[in-house]
Symmetry: C2
Subunit: 244 residues, 2 copies
Amino acid sequence: MQKPVTLAPLRVACSGCNLRELCMPMDLSDLDMEQLDDLTCIKHAYQRGGFLYRSGAKFQSLYAIRTGFFKTQVLHEDGREQVTGFQMAGEIIGMDAISSDAHACDAIALEDSEVCEIPFSRMEELSRKLPTLQRHLHRILSREIVRDQGIMLLLGSMRAEERLAAFLLNLSQRFAARGYSPTSFYLRMTRQEIGSYLGMKLETVSRTLSNFQGAGLITIRNKSVEIHNLQKLQRFVGPPQECV
Amino acid sequence: MQKPVTLAPLRVACSGCNLRELCMPMDLSDLDMEQLDDLTCIKHAYQRGGFLYRSGAKFQSLYAIRTGFFKTQVLHEDGREQVTGFQMAGEIIGMDAISSDAHACDAIALEDSEVCEIPFSRMEELSRKLPTLQRHLHRILSREIVRDQGIMLLLGSMRAEERLAAFLLNLSQRFAARGYSPTSFYLRMTRQEIGSYLGMKLETVSRTLSNFQGAGLITIRNKSVEIHNLQKLQRFVGPPQECV
DNA sequence: CATGGGATTTGATTTACATCAAACGCGCTC
DNA sequence: GAGCGCGTTTGATGTAAATCAAATCCCATG
């Protein structure tokens, strides 16, 4: 069974991290060595199923994912849950907690993962000295707002088929940005989790994926997806179908 | 017809603004007079239907609403639109634009309104000197993320009835926080706009409101709403109905 | 005050998706 | 390798909400 334990904490420096391009793309010239030390953060490992943080927990740090895959979810008191995102290497997570000093959602590892813990008070302190870092922090926060608006558009005005196509294309782009194949990848999450994220039931997810496969757009076997035609899939995201 | 013109720009100081509690609740002791001058911003008036900003416009400033009512919406290239929020006095708007230096949505006045323009570069500059302001900015950004997550939960896992009840209760709370009646208020937006925001069609909004009225929960006449029983309405937000 | 156009309500019908249900497949552990 | 449980697929049926349509209301304007 899953043991949500934290393995092997380790201090690391952002300057030496190969994900800097994705998570903290600042101009290095702004950073002298002393300042870099201030940003040094602690690396933790999480097993599949482990909680990075829980809703309600006191806010201390943001987390940069180094390797692995997470989901975030909010729980309604009724027991209903809504997956609010899937996060992969290079992405920053935990920003919802700043507003109330407590985490507003759960973050759970979908595979064995490593994260850098970034103590937020130190981040604020340092960003007062480094305008570039300050600007970057603002951009990250704002980017999250824009991402959420996109999901609102998706949930509010797209049909099941479109949502799923948009979802696959989004994953595709993000894998591509990390140097992986944009057309062949593993889904780390269950149909149920995809459904929760996209506002549909797991059966509908399954059926729609089967339809895509039937139409020759993708091949799906268990959790591995192969997209045969990105353009055709893209055309699914849009009004009903004006078959070209 | 609407003329989206800007009327009567005027310089004002935050120190003298009666909305400070809602939009910039900092400890005044941190601010000396000189710093206050730096935060002085420009007041603009907008007529109903006027654009505060348009999607794609260059990002310069955040805006604090002093009086009035706005909606924000994102447009899909297909012409589909999604209302992403309704903003009222004391709320800050425009934060989605920070990430790309361009506005990601339209902001449109739903009634004659006044806003304070807060040049963002000056805000960043000042927040490097004032940790309290810095912290406040971070909180505002994060609060927007939390708000969006709530809407995702609403759109992804609630039924029409629940969404509309949650919507009315949200308005109720926000009016109450501003010293207005929580049980009697005007809707500034059309059924169509409510529907876009809540992911349903205007007919469904109308029908559901009629149902609420039929159940004696509210009285609705045109755009004026009276909530007769906040608790009962609250109970609508939840799983199907375990009638108490 | 009359007129016109958009907003709203309400009804009839359709439909996309949910629900219920059963079978299958895959990865566990024993 | 047998047995079990979870995740997934697929089918049959039900239903909430969309769509289509028409009547009414309300405000703006001449």
